[in-house]
């Protein structure tokens, strides 16, 4: 009996201690991890979509609270006018959730581009959504007031061969992003304008 109590006490104590230490460390490193992700995962995707922007879109960002969570929006300045906004949405891919950067021009209400950030899709098939620039290029110029679909579903995006699920998921994520954009447009436009160089 004594031994059993000891086992329970020791294991409980160890687990509680471990949880405490890890929770503290998680909080302590969260800010630094966010910076790293911004620099090395999201940053390249943002700069790729906003090629030709005269500012550094990774630096020029603002946050809007959505359902209690602060979401970052990045601003692109073209020809001296801050007119493009980039933000990340998530989608459910073939393997796991993935991140998708969506860029919208707030003046013309058109998609400027999309780029997959973090993903776990199959290399050579679903991963082509990130690796093959021709796939995201199809999103450029689509109107922001409609949802995006692959041709099989009556839309305009040619699915990646062998990766219909991923292609559809990217379209759904883009559509979700556009929906969020439409819902928050007044706030977004106001914030974007304030980035006049």
């Amino acid at each position: 009996m004594r031994e059993m109590v000891k086992m329970v006490v020791v294991l409980t104590f160890l687990s509680a201690l471990s949880a405490g230490v890890l929770a503290w460390l998680r909080n302590a490193t969260a800010a630094q991890i966010e910076i790293q992700e911004l620099e090395l995962v999201k940053g390249p995707a943002i700069r790729q979509i906003l090629e030709g922007a005269t500012n550094d879109p990774v630096n020029d960002r603002f946050k809007i609270e959505i359902d209690g969570k602060a979401q970052s929006f990045f601003v692109g300045v073209f020809d001296g006018a801050p007119n493009t906004v980039v933000f990340e949405t998530t989608g459910k891919g073939f393997a796991d959730a993935f991140g998708l950067m969506v860029a919208v021009n707030v003046e013309t209400d058109k998609l400027v581009g999309v780029a997959v950030t973090t993903h776990k899709e199959t290399p050579g098939l679903g991963a082509q959504a990130k690796d093959d620039p021709a796939f995201p290029a199809q999103f450029k110029g689509l109107p922001a007031d409609q949802s995006v679909k692959i041709t099989k579903d009556g839309g305009s995006i040619s699915a990646l061969s062998g990766a219909t699920i991923t292609s559809r998921a990217v379209c759904d994520a883009a559509s979700d992003g556009l929906e969020r954009y439409r819902a928050l447009k007044p706030q977004i436009v106001e914030q974007v304008r304030s980035f006049k160089p």
Partner: protein, 197 residues
């Protein structure tokens, strides 16, 4: 069994060097050693976990009931693995990206659990630290050598510099999984030849 501290430390560098002498921990050894840099990164991460897990297990060896010792070891090891993972994410994000799933897999690395069970649970803190350091550094060296061999033969590059000149046709087989087995086998064979003399 009255070995000196120096012996406890140096046995990990040759006589019991993993993964060659103790053929344990093969999964990360084969999985990540496509370059020397990855090998060293993985080795150091494992060393960190090994040393701290050894210290904690030896300190708590009188408290941990024998019947739940494995569970306690796993809690301790898993805690340090998450510490490494968070720190790496915060300060060495590129390494974190390449090592990926192999970092969480240190939890089930036989070397770490093996040293906790076979050494730290029976020996004092100082000896366990020496043992952890020795085995960890030995593991790092092995991964570095295996990584270097595979990198040089498989890509013709070493730390980003060409080794054999432009005429060299990279032996890409070496950076794939079967190349890892063959590289490991040949190194083991070489060690046995040297050790026999």
């Amino acid at each position: 069994m009255a070995k000196t501290l120096v012996q406890e430390f140096t046995k990990g560098l040759w006589n019991e060097i993993p993964p060659f002498r103790l053929v344990l921990g093969l999964c990360p050894a084969l999985g990540v050693t496509t370059t020397m840099e990855n090998g060293i990164g993985m080795g150091l991460a494992t060393t960190f976990v090994l040393v701290f897990a050894n210290i904690l297990v030896s300190l708590l060896r009188k408290v941990i009931p024998a019947k739940v010792r494995i569970a306690c070891f796993i809690v301790i090891i898993a805690t340090f693995v998450i510490v490494v993972e968070l720190l790496m994410q915060a300060y060495a994000y590129r390494l974190f990206q390449t090592l990926g799933v192999f970092i969480p897999l240190i939890v089930v690395n036989c070397i770490v659990l093996g040293r906790a069970e076979a050494f730290a649970y029976k020996n004092g803190m100082v000896a366990s630290t020496a043992d952890g350091l020795g085995i960890g550094i030995g593991f790092t060296l092995s991964l570095a050598v295996l990584g270097a061999v595979r990198e040089i033969l498989g890509t013709g590059m070493f730390f980003g510099h060409s080794v054999f000149g432009t005429g060299y046709q990279p032996f890409t087989f070496m950076v794939q999984a079967p190349g890892a087995f063959i590289g490991l086998g040949l190194l083991l064979c070489l060690m046995n030849i040297v050790g026999r003399k």
